[in-house]
């Protein structure tokens, strides 16, 4: 799906400790490419999600979702997100073709009208289902979407981590920059700090409960996003990951969106 060979070559030159006389930008990019290389080749997966939204007063509300995802050679992933609860949006489904360059293609299925509606994906900083996750946080992460800069090495959760900065290059991002903690051994994201357009700390995302699938892919089972400016938070819990579903192109077209439920 991504720049596999380039990733490989670069990855080899920068195994921890090998990296020598490179700039922080080169080192940051190399880490991102190696991370991307390790994420490649999963083929497809489906999983279930529960989103728990909590406001400043501690009141919670929940959303139940399912997702199907397919890797696309040379471009971003294709995915469908199906809404199960709250009940009034049951059957609503979102089809996304993520792209390395330019905007993603998105369609929304509205079950009451049986209507598939093309929607604009320009709304990257918008809240996904009223949660603290923005659309840009949950769509496919491509190397090309950011520029990188290595910052330092630092342990987190007892694991040595790369700490690097990434700046979105796509338009309409809600962030001026993100700081990522990635563990050096398995390239698992442990934490991301998001800074708003004014440069102030906005949100922190923490990934927990990583599990290994297909002997090589690490997926977190809990994503916890807290908004420092509003005091609101969202916990996204993943379960029932299934790989090797044999999804075809036709499983991610407008027809399949109508029956995705």
């Amino acid at each position: 799906m991504k720049y596999w060979i380039a990733g490989c070559l670069l990855g080899m030159t920068l195994l921890p400790g090998v990296a020598g006389a490179e700039t922080p930008e080169e080192k940051g990019l190399a880490i991102a490419l190696e991370d991307d290389r390790r994420d490649n080749g999963f083929g497809d997966y489906q999983a279930e999600m529960v989103m728990t939204l909590k406001n400043r007063q501690g009141e919670t509300s929940q959303r139940f979702l399912r997702t199907r995802n397919k890797e696309v050679e040379g471009d971003g992933d294709k995915s469908i997100v199906i809404f199960d609860r709250p009940r009034d949006v049951k059957g609503t489904a979102l089809l996304n073709y993520s792209h390395k360059d330019g905007n993603d293609d998105q369609w929304l299925f509205l079950p009451a009208l049986k209507r598939v509606k093309r929607i604009s994906s320009d709304n990257k900083s918008g809240a996904f289902m009223g949660s603290e996750f923005a659309y840009e946080d949950i769509t496919s992460q491509e190397v090309e979407k950011y520029t990188y800069k290595w910052l330092r090495e630092e342990p987190l959760e007892g694991e040595p981590c790369f700490v690097f900065e990434r700046v979105p290059v796509y338009s309409n991002s809600g962030y001026s920059r993100q700081v990522v903690w990635l563990d050096q051994k398995e390239y698992r994201i442990f934490r991301i700090d998001f800074y708003d357009r004014k440069g102030d700390l906005l949100k922190t995302l923490t990934h927990r409960g990583h599990r290994k699938y297909l002997d090589r892919f690490w997926y977190p089972h809990e994503m916890f996003m807290v908004n420092h400016q509003t005091g609101k938070s969202t916990l996204l819990e993943w379960s029932d990951y299934q790989f090797g579903n044999g999804f075809q192109e036709e499983d991610f077209d407008q027809n399949s969106l109508k029956r995705a439920r």
Binding site: D88, R118, S120, R261
Partner: protein, 399 residues
Amino acid sequence: MGFRLRATVFVMMAMLVLAGPARAHEFTGFIQAEGRLFTQSAIHEEQKDLSGSLALQPEYYHEFEDGSSFTLVPFYRIDTSDPERTHFDLREFTYLGLREDFELRLGVRKVFWGTAEVYHLVDVLNQTDLVENVDTEDKLGQPMVNLSLPGEWGTLDVFVLPYFRERTFPGKAGRLRGAAVVDTGRTQFESGAKEWHTDWALRYFKVLGEVDLGFAHFVGTGREPTLLDGKDGNGNPIKIPLYEQIHQTSLDLSYVAGGWLWKAEALYRAGQGDRDYFAWTGGFEYTFYGIADTALDLGILLEGMYDERGSLATTAFQSDIVAGLRLAVNDPQSTEVLVGWLQDTENASRGFFLEASRRLGNRWKLAVEIRADFGQPASDFLFDQRADDFMQIELNYYF
């Protein structure tokens, strides 16, 4: 209906049993309480200024191992003021067969075609359930066989429609009607087969980057009736629906560019009235995301409608412009508001509409709708509904 319907039911039940059990026997649906307040006194006999109604729409869904499925969605509404609005409909009764190279959908379904927001010009497979709402977005279930063929070149859908559903109309006690009541007991058909005329349709759909393209052809009984003048037993004027045999070719397009969404629908229809005609609707919606550093999204929409038949058109949108604002609050309750202003470009008639909704807790949803019309001259399609401005409050419980 008789034999054919029973045969269809039998085939479906057989499929259900033979395919064996799998993922889920899902049972969901909603109950709705609705109140309508008409702000002006009725101008037609027997009409009331206040109405209340209850609706129930349960849904049964079962999915088989291979992804094929069965769906059953009955609908019933009971209305306090208009007996014609008290009605039952089978919204869905469908078997979906999923195969390697095609999808087969068999039974009663709803299919939507089109891209525009306000007027659904090319959406012609399902009959409008007009007693539900004048916005024509509620549809009656349509019996059909639908073969869907996906490919690199796009998706081709073939529809065979063996039975025709008549449009529902408000009765004498109902608001939002003409001065003369439509007598559905005296419906006329151009075809001798009446509602058993077999209609068919083809639709081709293709995504070309930022463009969605739909191209369709329909042959059969037109869903939109021509209303003929008649007299009832007592010599009072009534309207008699006439359903003609039509050929229609239509095109629908959408184009997305940044925050812009451009939409267009056009059709060419032959067989309704004395001459062929052309009609289109289209425009744009532009959305400002996260206005004033909040989570609010504000969309501006502008659409035009044109029908070559002018004052002889069988719809209210012969030459109109609609401007609207859509506000999405993006809060946990999914609060949304859509307001619009409709202006006829050839006379002084104008219209206003507001649709707002908000979820309450996890299972309730409150929806408010306001519709008002002003300044219709006596020649306007909606002149007889000039006193029918209303506010509707709807409370839904989802189970």
